[in-house]
């Protein structure tokens, strides 16, 4: 290893000299999903308006993206000029001083048009630190044909009791039809996104006002027992390793009666090229338990400028283009209104052409409105976030607790034991991090 610094050093000079000659190139890190890929294809519209700016895309899978942009921003690496980050990262990174406040988005950007729930999650101390590109919540997708056959009628806003009863009624294990498909794969963004949001509707919370973990409370026991029992009676086999994609494949091939997951799935399951049940899908709000909170989450993939970037002006011009009102019109003109990124602007939902083109539009909007990141639970909590707790420790904690709950679903540990383990490990981590003594 001794000669490596020498070798790297000699080559560094040549490389740095090369960089100085380069034009303004924005490097944008983004996730691999339909809306983002569409934006890449439409980049020419931006570069035509800004001929002095070149755009370089780096597309990554969500978890790889998170790992890379976190490393980059924490070390002020400066590899990216725009990062695609979620509602979890924005409040934490803004407080660390890692993000540039978006203050030059232009006069006609109309910040007030952004949906309040989404905007609230991206604002720290009255400054917007990221602009939402698309927002999503979660909702119930169900098979209208199976409901009809079973003589069931799905209300627009179902209760958990109804969902559980319907799931058990529809299940026909001999023909590989399962009443309900839910996430079981361990991870803070996998099963814990679903279970934390569900727990909110059961009156549970991660922490009380003094950051004391709450897994020893009856509400959590009720949530987890309900989930495990329901999945045992009406869920697909091997559910403890199912995430979004596995459930999507099951639903698209007609094996699920209901699926509660991200609103973005609506466009997949209704696409006749991919889904065998495209014309038999209905939508409803995520269930509740009569406590005033629904079991749906809130997420917004947003564009932010890292403090390490030296091209903040150009970066904000791009963000203004990509998340502005005109972008929706551009997508509509090229690919139709149904493909406009959903869930960020009020004006989009007031547009009759969009309402007509996207049958799931209203349900998406209602779901987003029903989630409040600042007051996510029935009882008060000291944190922000619906399906997560916006503290840096949550990624590790959420995944560790998720592993316990996934084990409970797989039958490896009892519900009581899983909750006890979750409580112990959360207490330990919170003490170590200095939240509690």
């Amino acid at each position: 290893m001794r000669f490596m610094p020498i070798l790297l050093g000699t080559c560094a000079a040549a490389l740095l000299a090369g960089q100085a000659l380069a034009e303004t190139t924005l490097t944008i890190a983004t996730v691999n999903n339909g809306d983002m890929i569409r934006m890449q294809k439409l980049t020419d519209d931006f570069t035509a308006k800004h001929p002095d700016i070149k755009v370089e895309w780096v597309t990554m899978e969500e978890n790889v993206l998170r790992q890379k942009v976190t490393t980059d921003i924490a070390t002020k690496g400066g590899q990216y000029d725009i990062m695609t980050i979620g509602t979890y990262e924005v409040p934490i990174w803004a407080k660390q001083g890692w993000l540039v406040p978006l203050e030059s988005l232009g006069a006609d950007y109309d910040v007030d048009d952004l949906l309040p729930a989404i905007r609230g999650g991206l604002t720290v101390e009255d400054k917007l630190y990221a602009a939402p590109f698309y927002g999503e919540s979660s909702m119930v997708m169900y098979r209208t044909d199976l409901f009809e056959k079973a003589g069931l009628d799905m209300p627009d806003a179902p209760s958990w009791d109804f969902v559980a009863e319907a799931a058990r009624k529809i299940t026909d294990k001999d023909n590989e039809v399962y009443g309900i498909c839910l996430r079981g794969k361990a991870g803070w963004g996998e099963n814990m996104a679903f279970l934390t949001a569900t727990a909110n509707s059961f009156g549970a919370r991660w922490f009380d006002e003094n950051w004391q973990p709450q897994f020893d409370q009856p509400e959590w026991k009720q949530t987890l027992q309900f989930y495990v029992d329901l999945m045992e009676d009406a869920g697909p086999p091997g559910a403890s390793s199912n995430g979004f994609n596995e459930n999507l494949a099951l639903f698209q091939t007609g094996k699920c009666g209901m699926w509660i997951d991200a609103t973005v799935a609506a466009s997949f399951v209704t696409n006749p090229d991919e889904s065998q049940v495209a014309d038999k899908v209905g939508f409803a709000l995520a269930p509740d338990n009569g406590l005033g909170k629904r079991g749906n989450w809130l997420w917004a993939w947003s564009l932010a400028v890292p403090a390490g970037s030296e091209k903040t002006e150009a970066a904000q011009e791009f963000i203004s283009w990509a998340t502005g009102k005109d972008y929706a019109k551009l997508v509509a003109a090229k690919e139709g209104w149904a493909n406009v990124p959903p869930g960020t602007r009020t004006s989009l939902y007031e547009n009759p052409m969009y309402q007509e083109a996207a049958p799931f539009a209203e349900m998406t909007l209602e779901s987003i409105k029903a989630a409040d990141p600042k007051h996510p639970t029935v009882d008060p909590v000291p944190y922000v976030g619906v399906q997560f707790v916006a503290i840096p420790e949550f990624q590790g904690l959420g995944t560790a607790v998720g592993q316990q709950f996934s084990a409970a679903l797989a039958g490896q540990v009892s519900v009581d034991q899983a909750l006890k383990n979750a409580q112990t490990l959360t207490e330990r981590e919170m003490k170590r991090s200095g939240y509690i003594k």
């Binding site: 290893m1 490596m4 610094p5 070798l7 790297l8 050093g9 080559c11 560094a12 490389l15 740095l16 960089q19 490097t27 890190a29 996730v31 691999n32 999903n33 339909g34 890929i37 890449q40 294809k41 370089e56 895309w57 780096v58 597309t59 990554m60 899978e61 969500e62 978890n63 790889v64 790992q67 890379k68 490393t71 070390t75 002020k76 690496g77 400066g78 590899q79 990216y80 963004g189 995430g243 979004f244 994609n245 999507l248 494949a249 698209q252 091939t253 991200a262 973005v264 799935a265 997949f268 090229d273 991919e274 889904s275 065998q276």
Partner: protein, 276 residues
């Protein structure tokens, strides 16, 4: 040996060999087949084998979305560059250990190998920070250097075992004839070790081509090789298996072809020195 092998045994061995071979190749075959399916067909249960509507749409889409050639060129530069640089360092090192061993030679070899036992992620932060400090993030130079260092123990070990097979007397004879150290290595040792060096070269190119930790973590766009190209098609929310398979097929195709053509050298090199 040939006399003892009956037809039945031969048949049994053939069947076993084919079974093992096909089992190992099956995931690759499945990836290639999936790349010609539509997204709907890719997730169909029961899965379809050969009788589906073959389509090239995934390849078209992949071509439209990313710059395959740039990624492929980066892969070539990184894998070939790091291997050649590694050989340059490893040939003298292996020579000295094979022909002038000391009582610590074995320990040095073991120590070199021990560096492979540390999980790569353990040194991610120091190396990342070094690269950042030197302005080498997202550059081919850094990747060539790092992959060379990562594979160096393997290169040295492989060359060492090949060199051990070469009689030291020949080198001595060259020395007697007045060959200098450099000439001895270049004109006497190297030509005799060509099969060994060739297989080391091939194996390390393959290893560097497939390396997916450093190449993903230290690159963004300019130096991103084919591993990053594949990774950009994976998605936790959305089933893009056919597109992912098309990207994977494109990424493995060059190395697969190279492997096929150099099969003989690879096998000969790997078994070189196995029979004493």
């Amino acid at each position: 040996m040939a006399r003892a092998v009956t037809t039945q045994r031969k048949l049994a061995f053939t069947i076993i060999a084919w079974t093992v071979g096909l089992t190992l190749f099956f995931p690759v075959l499945w990836t290639i087949l999936t790349s010609f399916k539509t997204e709907g067909e890719a997730i169909a249960t029961p899965p379809t084998f050969f009788f589906f509507d073959w389509t090239l749409e995934n390849y078209v889409e992949v071509q439209e979305r990313s710059n395959y050639l740039r990624h492929a060129m980066n892969s070539v530069v990184i894998s070939v560059g790091s291997t050649l640089l590694g050989l340059l360092v490893a040939i003298p090192a292996a020579w000295s250990m094979a022909f002038s061993p000391t009582k610590r030679t074995k320990d040095i070899l073991m120590w070199m190998l021990s560096t492979k036992m540390l999980p790569a992620v353990g040194v991610l932060m120091p190396i990342y920070l070094m690269c950042q400090w030197l302005g080498l993030l997202d550059s081919l130079v850094a990747l060539v250097a790092i992959l060379m260092l990562m594979n160096l123990p393997i290169i040295v070990w492989m060359l060492y075992t090949y060199f051990k097979e070469i009689p030291g007397d020949i080198l001595e004879a060259a020395r007697m004839d007045g060959a200098s150290l450099g000439k001895e290595i270049i004109y006497v040792l190297t030509p005799m070790a060509v099969p060994g060096i060739a297989s080391t070269l091939l194996l390390n190119i393959i290893l560097a081509w497939n390396e997916a930790f450093w190449t993903l973590n230290l690159t963004a766009s300019k130096a991103a090789p084919l591993t990053a190209f594949i990774a950009s098609y994976s998605s936790p929310e959305g089933l893009f298996w056919a597109k992912l398979s098309a990207a994977s097929t494109l990424a493995i195709a060059p190395i697969l072809v190279m492997g096929w053509f150099s099969q003989k050298q690879l096998v000969r090199g790997l078994t070189f020195g196995a029979v004493k």
